[in-house]
């Protein structure tokens, strides 16, 4: 969904789907702005530069003390 096409009604529906059902109209306007900002930040990241082998910064690991 493009940023410009996201409306308050759509945000209200999306919010309800994740249990955010008590947001007022003012809160939904905030959520709309916040969602636009979050998407802009995601778009700023060069995810295309990642190769399949690039691991997350924090990966699950065990040390010798975890041997069972």
């Amino acid at each position: 969904m493009a940023d410009g096409s996201l409306t308050v009604d759509e945000v209200r529906r999306m919010a309800a789907e994740i249990g955010l059902t008590r947001l007022t109209d003012e809160h939904l306007q905030q959520l709309l702005r916040a969602t636009h900002a979050a998407r802009a930040r995601r778009e700023a990241l060069p995810f295309g530069s990642l190769t399949p082998a690039d691991e997350p910064a924090h990966v699950f690991s065990l040390d010798a003390g975890d041997e069972r």
Partner: protein, 464 residues
């Protein structure tokens, strides 16, 4: 009563050790100063003079019996109100947690208690270390001691304001996207975000687990190193804690910078963002001063500031929303508007975006750390602008994002903000030093040399 407001931790410790300064008299003097001036600054969210006097009397009695515990015995301090102190509420400056009484001390509070520190109270923060400055919370926002009409930075707002105002020689803050270094920059004090994992986060309300750091704010570099000596060290109960020896942060002070290789990341504040002209001049002058002191200074480059910041925010908002999701479902009206909006930014961060941001984080971090094969220290901007007016929401929103601190939460690198002069309007300017992981002693060495050469840390605001 003698004016003890701007005694450093080191000076106070020496006087107390020699029995030339009574911890009780020192504490009473600071209590009087706080009672007189904090109504204008709001640095304290919960001022606890009764606990302070009890701590001070205990310290005085122990020292009189020959039981001096070390360089923090009888010295006052405060904690940002997301740090647990047993028996007191940890509110995070929020209505949500008004009744949240801590059962035990945070690891950092425990260490300062064991060192014999005098606890003065809980300090103002942005709500949940993200939403501020706000006027719709149960407590007002802290203000800047250099001009109370101006923002004092955040989210460790009270920690910066109280230290600059001479209420305390040292305070503890936290830093997830720059929240120790922002108030340090705005208030003209020294703020260190240590290497990720060097200081335990146990008992500190999280904002974003993988980006959260705990660090000290002080008026001098030496005091900051002294404080880090007290609070650094492995904690097996903090899963992010680095299992390695810590300490010795004052060991290199006085050795100067001759021969140190300094890389200046100018593109952060001249190309990726255009900082205020006075700020640019101050940072460039700081680099030049290091050159005059004998460092080898050259300009270097790294990834664009925007990549680091976006990476920080995608990870931060994703992790923060996971923490706040239940409250946002059940009590959204109990948040202030700024915290609610900033936290809800994580509501629709996709799992793949979060994971890809952490994958990019590894690449950014590896590339940044590789720079240290050729340099010992980075100099760059902290804030792009001096403090704006606190009652101008548009200016706050504009300047809030104009910073280059978040990159070093992404990389986990130690990063220190310190005074670099003053604007024509009399507000602090700041420079940021960044090191390779666990190189805090070297960073303090360079920062101390710069501080001694410039003397900015000897300047204090005229309050009251």
């Amino acid at each position: 009563m003698t004016d003890f407001a701007y005694l450093s931790v080191g000076e106070a410790a020496e006087l107390i050790r020699g029995k030339d300064l009574s911890p009780v008299e020192y504490t009473k003097a600071l209590i009087a100063r706080i009672e007189k001036h904090d109504r204008q600054l709001n640095a304290f969210l919960r001022f606890t003079p009764e606990i302070a006097l009890e701590d001070a009397r205990r310290a005085e009695a122990e020292i009189a019996r020959g039981g001096w515990r070390g360089a923090f015995h009888g010295v006052p301090y405060g904690l940002k109100d997301i740090v647990d102190y047993a028996g007191l509420p940890t509110t995070a400056h929020s209505k949500i947690l008004q009744g949240n009484v801590a059962a035990t001390d945070a690891a950092v509070a425990h260490r300062l208690r064991e060192a014999g520190g005098v606890f003065m109270g809980k300090l103002s923060t942005h709500e949940f270390a993200i939403g501020g400055p706000s006027f719709d919370l149960p407590w007002p926002p802290a203000r800047n001691p250099w001009n109370r009409d101006h923002f004092c930075g955040g989210s460790s707002s009270g920690s910066g304001a109280a230290t600059a105002a001479g209420f305390l020689p040292a305070a503890i803050g936290t830093d997830t996207g720059g929240s120790v270094r922002n108030p340090a920059s705005m208030c003209g004090v020294v703020g260190m975000k240590p290497t990720y994992g060097l200081v335990s986060r146990r008992g500190v309300l999280p904002l974003a687990f993988s980006l959260d750091h705990v660090g000290p704010l002080t008026r001098t570099v030496r005091d900051n190193a002294l404080m880090l000596d007290l609070i650094a060290g492995h904690d097996p109960l903090d899963p992010g804690s680095a299992n390695r020896a810590a300490g010795g942060y004052t060991a290199q002070l006085g050795r100067g910078v001759k021969g140190l290789r300094v890389g200046v990341i100018r593109h952060f504040y001249t190309r990726d963002m255009q900082a205020d002209a006075e700020m640019v001049a101050a940072i460039d002058a700081a680099a030049e001063r290091l050159r005059e002191l004998g460092a080898e200074v050259r300009e270097i480059g790294t990834a664009p500031l925007g990549e680091y910041v976006a990476c920080n925010r995608v990870i931060l908002t994703g992790e923060a929303f996971a923490i706040h999701e239940r409250w946002l479902r059940e009590r959204p009206q109990d948040y202030g508007a700024l915290a609610r909006e900033r936290l809800m930014a994580g509501a629709f961060v996709r799992a793949s975006d979060y994971v890809n941001a952490t994958r990019l984080r590894r690449k950014l971090t590896d590339a940044f750390h590789a720079l240290f094969a050729h340099i010992d220290l980075v100099v760059t901007s902290s804030s792009m602008d001096p403090a704006c007016r606190i009652d101008d929401p548009k200016a706050v929103e504009y300047t809030y994002a104009r910073q280059s601190r978040a990159p070093f939460n992404v990389t986990g690198s130690p990063a220190l903000s310190m005074p670099a002069g003053f604007s024509k309007a009399g507000l602090p300017l700041a420079v940021q030093f960044v090191g390779k992981p666990f190189s805090e002693a070297l960073m303090y060495r360079a920062a101390h040399a710069y501080e001694q050469a410039c003397g900015w840390s000897g300047m204090h605001p005229a309050i009251g």
